[in-house]
Amino acid sequence: MSDETDRALESLIAAAAELLALPIEPAWRPAIEANLKATLQLAATVVEFELADDLEPAPVFNA
């Protein structure tokens, strides 16, 4: 990710922490950022995969 994306990530964490009322200490931020970055990178590989509009999500798997 670019420096711009890293800055966006920092902003997202700051805003989300406030909105979700999560008390985050400065020392925790690098690890939170690394975790969120890794998860967003994985999420991007899912989102880029084209699926039909009418495909139902599967929040609970039914065999």
Partner: protein, 465 residues
């Protein structure tokens, strides 16, 4: 029966000894408790030992037999449970410090009740990774579970104490949970047979959740027969678990010895080879050769499936723990806390996209089972790493260890398929192979596991203690 004769006994052998009167249940349990006490410092497997309860149950079994009453199908078998199962009288820790403040559970998990109804004997609760968000078996509050094959190495997690207790000969049977691989990883690292049943098969009522749409409960043991014994005793619909399937009990034990010849088997290629060590690939090849499985298939989009499982797990677990993250963030294992906080910040469209992908992927994989009865794949990319190890080389690239332990288990539990892990006794450390079948076909996976065991290909190696 002398105490030494009770060591490294299968559950089936204990049932035989107790039912025939060659051993009392009390003798079995006393020997078990002695081994648990002796192992505490070395393996750190147990967080609670239910000594009085276990001895009372054993005395009741012996008294019933003395009266001429029939013994249960698990007569005298000691077992222990991951400490996210409710055990009456104990706080359900789920590997955390925070849950110590919970009131003691007022009733047992129904799986415990069902095993004890078959005359098995609960002897305690087992160590685990905090809130099950773990593949290592390490725990910041209670210390790491240690691998009986080499205590400097991980048991795998999050059912780490299950792996240590069964491989370390403290009990022949343990109950764990598996959301993304937490039964299958310790089975692989500790050299055990492990069963993650179909999603919805075994009741999860009165267990502490992690990511509800992936959470499964199941057994770990040192033989396929012992898995089947326990699994048959635990089956059955339970209205207390909202995803429990309304299916009849389908006993596996009577068909365990049926021939496996004629089953259509294939090895998972592509994704399941790319990140695997030589040991993992070699173990799959050994199992495939023994079964005559020459076909190779590609599970479509397995990497995306793993990614989607990761995303959904992050979101569901963060939602579960949000109140604790707000009020008690300092009480978490810092590594777990930071993962959970990051999960709380995931944009919702990404999570829903992962759930939508899940539907597509399920349809693709179920299609494979129209022409295949079982798929063979590595359970873990490598054998047990050392405790504290942070990085590992995969495909020549150094990557963080922790998130990569489950790369081969996550694409399977993502759609709730049943899996039996069989141990391949490599030296110095064993490794597991997944036998993956269509939904509700645990019988096929257990039959194959039993066949491999009979042929000496799969074996739970006894540690040099």
């Amino acid at each position: 029966m002398p105490e030494a004769m009770l060591a490294w006994q299968s559950a089936a052998a204990i049932v035989d000894a107790v039912s025939s009167g060659r051993s009392s249940a009390v003798a079995v349990i006393e020997a078990t408790l002695t081994r648990i006490d002796a192992s505490a410092a070395r393996l750190n497997a147990f967080t609670a030992v239910t000594r009085e309860r276990a001895l009372a149950k054993a005395r009741a079994i012996d008294a019933a037999r003395a009266r001429g009453a029939p013994c249960g199908q698990l007569a005298g078998v000691p077992f222990a449970v991951k400490n996210l199962y409710d055990v009456a009288g104990l706080a359900t820790l789920a590997g955390s410090k925070i849950n110590r403040r919970l009131p003691p559970a007022t009733a047992d998990s129904p799986l415990i009740t069902r095993l004890e109804a078959a005359d098995a004997v609960l002897v305690g609760a087992l160590n685990m990774g905090e809130y099950a968000y773990d593949f290592t078996g390490e725990n910041a509050h209670y210390g790491a579970s240690r691998n009986p094959h080499d205590p400097a190495h991980m048991t795998g997690g999050s059912s780490g104490g299950c792996g240590g207790a069964v491989a370390g000969d403290l009990v022949p049977l343990a109950l764990g949970s598996d959301t993304n691989g937490s039964i299958r990883v310790p089975s692989s690292f500790c050299g055990l047979f492990g069963l993650k049943p179909t999603y919805g098969r075994l009741s999860r009522a009165r267990s502490f959740p992690f990511a509800a749409s992936f959470d499964h409960l199941g057994p770990l043991a040192r033989s396929a027969r012992d898995l089947a014994l326990a699994y048959d005793a635990m089956q059955g619909h339970d209205t207390a678990d909202p995803v429990s399937a309304a299916r009849q009990i389908e006993p596996v034990l009577p068909c365990l010895d049926l021939a496996t010849r004629g089953l259509r088997l294939a090895v998972a290629g592509g994704y399941f080879r790319r990140g695997a060590s030589a040991e993992a690939i070699g173990a799959v090849a050994r199992v495939a050769a023994a079964l005559g499985a020459t076909a190779e298939i590609e599970i479509p989009q397995a990497a995306r499936a793993r990614a989607a499982a990761y995303v959904i797990t992050a979101a569901e677990s963060a939602s579960l723990h949000l109140p604790r993250l707000r009020g008690e963030a300092h009480e978490f294992d810092p590594a777990v806390r930071d993962r959970l906080i990051a999960g709380a910040m995931l944009p919702a469209p990404y999570v829903m996209a992962a759930q939508k992908f899940r539907r597509w992927y399920r349809e693709q994989v179920l299609r494979l089972f129209q022409s295949i009865d079982a798929i063979l794949a590595p359970a873990t990319p490598f054998t047990a790493p050392r405790i504290g190890q942070q990085r590992v080389r995969l495909d020549g690239v150094e990557v963080p260890l922790r998130p990569n332990i489950g790369i081969f288990t996550q694409p399977i539990s993502f759609i709730g398929l049943p899996v039996v892990v069989v141990p391949v006794p490599l030296a110095p450390l064993p490794i597991g192979v997944q036998i993956i079948t269509a939904p509700w076909r645990e019988d096929v996976a257990l039959r194959i596991a039993h066949r491999l065991e009979q042929d000496g290909v799969a074996l739970a190696p006894r540690p040099a203690l």
